[in-house]
């Protein structure tokens, strides 16, 4: 194996460890606050880790750094993933987040994040179909100001039912926003069932291509190598260059890592009971050892 491949393999291992560490943190956190959206949070974890720990230009000591890449979490109900990253990076302690979670006057954190209370949050989100239009405007705004950062927006696949996404895709392609990256966390489940049964979104790659996106298919969005290989293909965020925006279809498993949550729609919302934590963590460990 070539030396750079060995180095890459070590990085994938390290990032995978991080993703599983954050999953453990998340499950433990969930038992303390008793409200989460674990299914989608567990599915998006590898992508979030790859972005924040490797690919994004980001400075955790300066959340308003003008040159930072912007990560817009449109599926705002999965905000706890961002909180877990922040505590892992030492921005807040876990206790602090628990003590300020939906506590009225002292609240900074919630199931749906608010940018006013946490400077690391780029948009206050919660209702679906908002992130991509905002990201499109953001990327246009960056070009207008001649600033070269990436605007990365993550949506869920169920979220693509919202028509605003398709309005925004038209605009992103029309304005040739090469500094825009759309990531679809395609875990194939929405709140009450499989997307193919609730409202079919496939063939998603063809639809995105037809709307003018450069589509990268990440066959396994819960495999760090696969995620990194997809992100390696991102073009440089030169805002002046007009070219197709990029979409990454990240094929994931809802509830990934916890056997009794995997591919189950009923783990979309709700928290984890304390009695279930041990079993969930044991399942996570088994999964990690299998990878």
């Amino acid at each position: 194996m070539a030396i750079d491949k060995i180095a890459d393999a070590a990085i994938y291992e390290e990032l995978t460890d991080k993703a599983f560490k954050l999953r453990r943190d998340l499950l433990t956190f969930s038992t303390q606050i008793n409200m989460s959206h674990l299914g989608g949070e567990l599915s998006m974890m590898e992508m979030a880790v790859a972005l924040y720990y490797r690919y994004m230009k980001y400075d955790f000591s300066n959340p308003k750094w003008p040159e930072r890449d912007r990560f817009i979490l449109s599926k705002g109900h999965c905000s706890e993933v961002l909180y877990m990253i922040l505590q892992d990076k030492g921005v807040y302690t876990m206790d602090y987040i628990v003590e300020h979670f939906e506590t009225l006057e002292t609240a900074q954190f919630g199931q749906h994040s608010n940018r006013k209370y946490v400077p690391y949050i780029e948009i206050s989100a919660g209702s679906l179909g908002h992130g991509l239009p905002i990201a499109t405007g953001y990327a246009l705004g960056a070009r207008y100001r001649n600033e070269n950062y990436r605007v990365i927006v993550m949506v869920g696949d169920g979220e693509l039912c919202e028509g605003t996404n398709w309005e925004a895709m038209m605009a992103a392609a029309h304005y040739q926003l090469g500094n825009l990256v759309l990531i679809i966390d395609k875990n194939k489940l929405s709140m009450t069932g499989y997307t193919k049964d609730v409202m079919n979104i496939d063939p998603l790659d063809k639809k995105l291509e037809a709307f003018g996106f450069n589509v990268i298919n990440c066959e396994n969005g819960n495999d760090m190598k696969c995620v990194c290989e997809a992100l390696d293909q991102l073009p440089e965020p030169d805002c002046a260059i007009k070219r197709a925006p990029t979409a990454i279809i990240s094929n994931t498993v809802k509830g990934f890592g916890v056997d009794f949550m995997e591919d189950k729609w009923n783990w979309h919302g709700g928290g984890l009971a304390k009695e279930q934590l041990e079993e969930a963590l044991a399942s996570l460990d088994r999964k990690r050892s299998e990878i």
Binding site: I123, P133, I134, G141, Y144, E147
Partner: protein, 321 residues
């Protein structure tokens, strides 16, 4: 303090919609840095159209997709820009309500959403009527809602909005309504109503194009020996409760007149205040009643729903009787 109105305004037509495009041009010419988003309803021959042709690098057309336009405007603002955004009347509050609520107000961004063709001024029937907007805007926190009475006031507001912090709605009508103010030599402060014409027998609290109708009503009433005060409540949020209180404590009859649904807008806001205060005078709302407006020319619609000067004067006489 009453300020000078034209009161003989009939010949002085103004056009807020044209005026706002002209003002954007002047602001850009003056070196102010802002961006503009718009829809596929801005004619190239209009003042706004001319602005987009002179400054294309800062103007973004979103076609026929108001939710995307408003959401993207929030993104443009988050990227550090002051954003003016023009949307055709009813399609702003009705199509993009979620984006106004979440992307603009909740995210607290410097976007000025300009809804043109307010009320029934677009003509063309209920699909093109913008009468539910004030009720919606009143229920969304962190919105300033500015409803200029004429073109001159619109220009003042557009310019003042540049330095304003936070989200703002600017509601203007199609154009062609008369000037209310004889000159621009007066202070405009968002949230501070103007006593446009003094009076002691009753007060007509109005906004937008209804300020002109209220002034005309005051003239009709004056001929009958009745002294009607006209209030220009140009900001619906935050509402100038001090001015309502002043009216409540000084006159025994209050009318609220707006070119919007009588449910939930200015009239409702005034009624809420008066009820909670225990106002013992008489009060009436004038606006579009709880029905889809009938099809007709603009003057006919105004006359039918008695939101014109004659209708306001008639209501005043009823309450004074």
């Amino acid at each position: 303090m009453a300020i000078e109105t034209t009161f003989d305004f009939d010949q002085m037509l103004s056009n807020a919609r044209e005026a706002f495009g002209e003002e954007l041009m002047r602001m850009a010419d003056d070196g102010l840095d802002f961006v503009f988003t718009y829809s596929d309803n801005v004619a190239l021959s209009s003042s706004t159209g001319k602005f987009t042709q002179k400054y294309p690098e800062r103007c973004f057309n979103f076609g026929i997709a108001e939710p995307d336009q408003v959401g993207a405007s929030a993104g443009l603002a988050l990227a550090g820009n002051v954003v003016y955004s023009q949307v055709f009347g009813p399609f702003l509050p009705l199509r993009a309500a979620d984006q106004i609520h979440t992307d603009i107000a909740y995210n607290d961004v410097n976007v000025r959403l300009i809804g043109t063709h307010a009320g029934v001024t677009a003509g063309g029937g209920p699909t093109h009527n913008d009468i539910a907007d004030l009720a919606l805007y009143r229920a969304i926190p962190n919105l300033t809602v500015f409803v200029p009475a004429d073109a001159g006031q619109c220009i003042k507001g557009i310019r003042a909005a540049y330095d304003f912090q936070g989200p703002m709605i600017i509601r203007i009508n199609r154009g062609g309504s008369p000037n209310v103010y004889a000159s621009d030599d007066y202070e405009l402060e968002f949230g501070k109503a103007i006593e446009t014409y003094p009076g002691t027998d009753l007060a007509i609290i109005s906004c937008g194009s209804e300020v002109y109708e209220a002034l005309m009503a005051a003239r009709i009433l004056k001929e009958k020996g009745i002294s009607a005060r006209v209030i220009d409540m140009h900001t619906i949020k935050p509402l100038d409760y001090d001015m309502i209180e002043k009216c409540a404590s000084e006159v025994g009859v209050i009318i609220a007149a707006e070119e919007a649904s009588i449910n939930g807008g200015l009239g409702s806001a005034v009624a809420e205040y008066l009820a909670e205060r225990g106002y013992d005078g008489k009060f009436a709302r004038i606006g579009i009643p709880d029905e889809f407006a009938l099809l007709g020319s603009l003057p006919d619609v105004y006359r039918h729903y008695e939101i014109d000067a004659e209708g306001i004067a008639k209501k005043a006489l009823e309450l004074l009787a």
